[in-house]
Structures are given as C-alpha cells and as structure tokens.
Symmetry: C2
C-alpha cells in the first residue's frame, strides 16, 4: 500500500492534490513554494506541520520552507506556533484563512486608491481623464465597503452550516 509521511494516508493521493492545487494558485500569481506549502498544509491530517515535515514531503530545503512560510504568515494564510518546550515551530492553516487573506487585500486597495486620488488632483477633476479616474476610484471605494459586509455575511453563513 502507498502510505507514509501522512501517517496512514495515501501519500500519492495527497501529493497529487498538493501539486494540482498549488499549480492553480501559482497560475493566479502566488509564489510556487508558498503555494506548495499551503496546499500541503491544507491537505494534511491535522492542518499543522513542522518545517521538517514540509521539507520532507515537498522535497525542498529548509531555506525554501522558511521563505514560503514567511510569505504565508505575512499574508495571513497560515499562522506560526511554537510547540511549548521545543525549538520546533509548527505552521497551521485555519478554517478561515481565506477570510483573513481577503480582508487583508484591503491594504492593496488603499494604495491603489491613494495613487488614483493623486492622479485625479494632478490631472484635474474636470478633465476627461480625471473623471475616468474618479469613477475608477469610486468603484474601489464601493468594493471596499461591500467586501466588509460580505465577510460579515460569510461568518453568519458559516456558523449556520458548519457550526462555530
């Protein structure tokens, strides 16, 4: 039977999922190693893995794990935790990592909006280009408000469906 690292699970099936899901994430712009690490965590039994386990399963160096995890932690896709009384660190995916990640896109939007405001005022709000940029700006502001409301609804929906 094909089972190993996962602890009694079909290692090949896991690997197949990891690589195919990671590929989709990469195509959408995520760094390759970050995508693979994230997918591995998502499909792990406990949703928690150590650096060594990740390196082993994905066949990558500790340095690569470190880089991937740093990125994932910054974007709130995984959290790091210290096993009490050990130098080992563990990385965990939550059920609501995407919720978190989406919420943090807000910072990106804010910067876009700032650049657009600058553009509107430097080109003139009464010019055709200025008006076009103002409308784009309005769209982003709208989205920002809506996404906040949407996340609120997701929380409700989730509790109802999966229980808190």
């Amino acid at each position: 039977m094909t089972e190993a690292a996962g602890g009694g699970r079909d290692a090949e099936a896991v690997s197949k999922f990891v690589e195919s899901f990671a590929a989709q994430l990469v195509e959408a712009g995520m760094q390759r190693m970050a995508a693979r690490v994230f997918a591995a965590l998502l499909s792990s039994d406990k949703g928690v893995m150590t650096s060594a386990e990740l390196g082993e399963q994905l066949q990558i160096s500790p340095a690569a794990v470190s880089g991937a995890v740093r990125y994932l932690a910054q974007t709130h896709m995984v959290s790091r935790e210290r096993e009490p009384g050990s130098r080992r660190e563990r990385y965990r995916v939550h059920g609501d990592q995407w919720y978190e990640a989406l919420t943090n896109r807000e910072a990106v939007l804010k910067r876009w909006e700032a650049a657009l405001r600058e553009g509107v005022s430097s080109l003139g709000a009464d010019t055709p280009a200025g008006r076009r940029m103002a409308e784009t700006l309005a769209f982003f502001e709208f989205i920002e408000r809506e996404v906040a409301a949407m996340m609120e609804r997701w929380r409700a929906h989730r509790e109802e469906r999966f229980g808190k």
Copy 2:
C-alpha cells in the same frame, strides 16, 4: 510649459501618475508592461490610444506593446478596435473595465473549486483534511454568489452617481 504628446496636457504629471499607479499594479501581481500600458490609457485624454502612441509615450518597442495589449485584452481590461479604413488599431479603456475584470476572475475561482472537489473526493469527505477542504470550497462558492450580487449593486450605484 511642459506639454506634448497628450495634446495640451502636462506630460510630466501624466507620466508621474502612470508610473506610480503602474507600480502599485505590478506589486499586486500584474506584468510590468501591461500595468504601464493600462495606466497610460487610463490617464489619456480620450481613453483611447494607438500602438504607436503607447510606444512613444512609454518608450517601449512595438513588440512590448503587442504583448501587453494581448494580456490586457484577454483579461478584459482593455478592448481593441480597428479605426475604419486604416491598419491602425486603437486600444480603449472603458469606465467599467474593473467590473469586467472582476467578473472574469470567476474562471479562476472555478478552477480552484474543481481542484478542491477533486481533493475532497480523493482524500475522503469524512477525513479531517477532507472536511477542511470542503469548508474552503464552501467559502469560494459563497464568494462567487456574492460577487455576482455585488456587481449588480454596483451597476445601480453607478447609474445613480454618474448617470448611465
């Protein structure tokens, strides 16, 4: 006075906006040339430019313009039009290019969902990992529905604010 290609506008102010907005788009994952071309169009007087004008303003080769425009057209950020009776092509931004672009992210979501479904069924819906993936899948499905509704609201909001 600093004015030129734009046709009576402050070329330096335009260029400054183009580069700073493009930089933000690049940071969020867009290809550099595509970002610059898009920003140039957004800040152009008529919202329309020819390949030659773009190359001139951004100081890039026709090949680079071609590549950037291909990407932007695929993602529905700009549309191409043929000047009637001419070999010249013109590229245009609409007021609702982001609306379009966001709508087309749906395709990406669909692929992610497919990969997750595959994962759930190959690892087993009754395993911890399977349940985690199923919840992620539910989140995406929720987002997909919500985004559609949100875009509907944007159309209403937009008409009210800017007039159709």
